[in-house]
Symmetry: C2
Subunit: 343 residues, 2 copies
């Protein structure tokens, strides 16, 4: 029993034509005050609600942009969402948040639905780098797309990203300086570009100065971190890495929990560095060193770029905004301070 009153009934009730009602709604200055009031009253009495489908159909455009994230559950993305919402709000457009859950199929499905809905534009962190058919098509057919947290190598699109290679390098430099000679990189799937880049970054920094062991994970969750830690901890004692760099903080938190549970001390037995510097990193059992990214700003900038592209429907220069990450050193990788006797 959805709302059944249309503009037509309102018109009848107010004793005007439907064109007039539409004008009251869209260009009120064109209609005389008394008439306008009459129409407004009719609307209120009838509880009329504009039918957006019809409006869109006629207008040819919607008032929404979409944000497709890899994981709604990850604090990194929720902050990006907030940023994007903030930027969109001023422009009167609504942000539809979609969660691909790192699953290419769900991503495709969302993209299809969004295109059918004729969203004005899409902000997306694609699941994989490969030739993403749906996304390519979407772009080709003219929907503005901004890549979030992903350099747009092959795509000639706007993009907003953080230099993940640099981030990985910062972590690597730091760990090498702390004297670690066998370092594990925990992260995956490698199809995710950020993971690739962070790995590449640390590999570069460590090159020739320490050994890098890659421990792949199926995703970027706390659970995956624990599993990875199990694998690392169960290696022969002499060969166990003395430091772990995780592709994100969720993994790092998982590694931390598992290591602690196994009686390995952090950072004395194993140092840990995470990535994202989510709010919970600082509050962890052992405050986590992490590579900080300007998350909210990332979302805000991405949305701003998209809106700019939407508005300049004439000529638009694609831009690539790259933010610099920053290493925040805390206890998990720092010189152990008190708490237990060092070494």
């Amino acid at each position: 029993m959805t709302t059944t009153t249309g503009i037509k009934e309102v018109a009848r009730r107010a004793g005007v034509s439907i064109g007039t009602v539409s004008n009251v709604l869209n260009r009120p200055e064109l209609v005389a005050t008394s008439t306008r009031q009459r129409v407004l009253d009719a609307i209120a009495e009838l509880g009329y609600v504009r039918n957006d489908s019809a409006r869109q159909l006629r207008a040819g455009q919607s008032r929404q942009i979409a944000l497709v994230v890899l994981d709604v559950t990850n604090p990194f993305f929720t902050d990006v969402v907030r940023g994007a919402e903030a930027a969109a709000e001023d422009h009167g457009v609504m942000v539809v948040v979609c969660n691909s859950g790192e699953d290419a199929h769900r991503e495709q499905r969302h993209l299809e639905l969004l295109e059918e809905q004729r969203v004005r534009g899409v902000l997306i962190t694609p699941v994989d780098e490969g030739p993403n058919s749906r996304l390519e098509q979407l772009i080709q057919r003219g929907t503005p797309v901004v890549l979030v947290d992903r350099g747009s190598g092959r795509h000639s699109r706007c993009s907003v990203a953080v230099d993940d290679i640099l981030g990985g390098r910062l972590a690597g430099e730091h760990l090498v300086e702390q004297g670690h000679r066998r370092i594990a990189f925990v992260g995956g799937p490698m199809s995710i570009a950020q993971v690739q880049d962070r790995r590449a970054g640390i590999a570069e920094a460590v090159e020739g100065r320490a050994e890098l062991v890659v421990v792949p994970t199926p995703n970027l969750t706390v659970a995956a971190g624990r599993a990875a830690a199990t694998q690392i901890a169960s290696g022969p004692d002499g060969e166990r890495p003395t430091a772990v760099f995780c592709a994100n903080d969720l993994l790092a938190l998982g590694v931390l929990q598992e290591m602690t549970q196994r009686g390995l001390r952090v950072p004395q037995d194993v140092a840990i560095v995470g990535y994202d510097d989510i709010e919970f990193a600082a509050a962890a059992a052992v405050p986590l060193s992490s590579v900080r990214q300007p998350r909210e700003q990332l979302g805000r900038t991405a949305a701003a770029l998209l809106l700019e592209e939407i508005e300049d429907d004439g000529r638009h220069e694609h831009r690539h905004v790259v933010f610099q990450p920053e290493l925040i050193v805390r206890e998990s990788s720092g010189r152990p301070r008190g708490r237990r006797k060092g070494r």
Copy 2:
């Protein structure tokens, strides 16, 4: 330059009528295999994408349900989102996630937009309990609504909730048993029913056995927790509460950070109990005692109830599902185990 090809062009290209194209799309079994293939080819060649506005307009219904949460950034809600998505997926409906940010105005605005979009139903944790005009109207006009994590006292709607009074009581009993005689409740705004209930629960448990000090907060964030802790810690030494029960884990984490920073030991100097048992609670500096809620299940059940109501458009019995919370005792409120000498 949005997609410009319509069903009409496809029809022309395939040499059939538009009715046939529509049939291929919606009831393919009605059209002969050869024709169907010809149409499908035309669709592929032209890159045709169905216009959902037009479809909805004609069909009178959308394929979306909405989920309006108080704070996307709060892990509690992100889990609810996941649950709802899971339930919706099977039914082929899309979940639109909206963030009210605990702001009644934004909530209203979202509700308006959603109603204009003729969403099939709404899952919502309303900002305040008061006579929420938009929400009432929405319901009255016939959109199915399920209240999430909120008993539907005044509304005669379906609802899914966790017994927050019980949750508060569990925390209270526990703290009293641990010997605390002056306990602080941190949370707010009081307009949020969950906060109210949790407070009421602990008040009930503590009644006559200990003193309860209420420290209101403007919202449920880590920052608000730190502020509250500052206030508590700066009270005269003798009068400082020896335990703090927070309305959610974000607050608790904030309190924990601030207390630790001020040199107060947890749990020896101050015990802390949080609420929600988010993933990060266990990983905190001092693992946090917390009242656990079945978050994902909450979302899943809510969506299921909504879908049920949508499908039984005939007669539908509103139901109220109430889950029981569970107190998870960890170090932050437990008997201090090792680490430092007690008391």
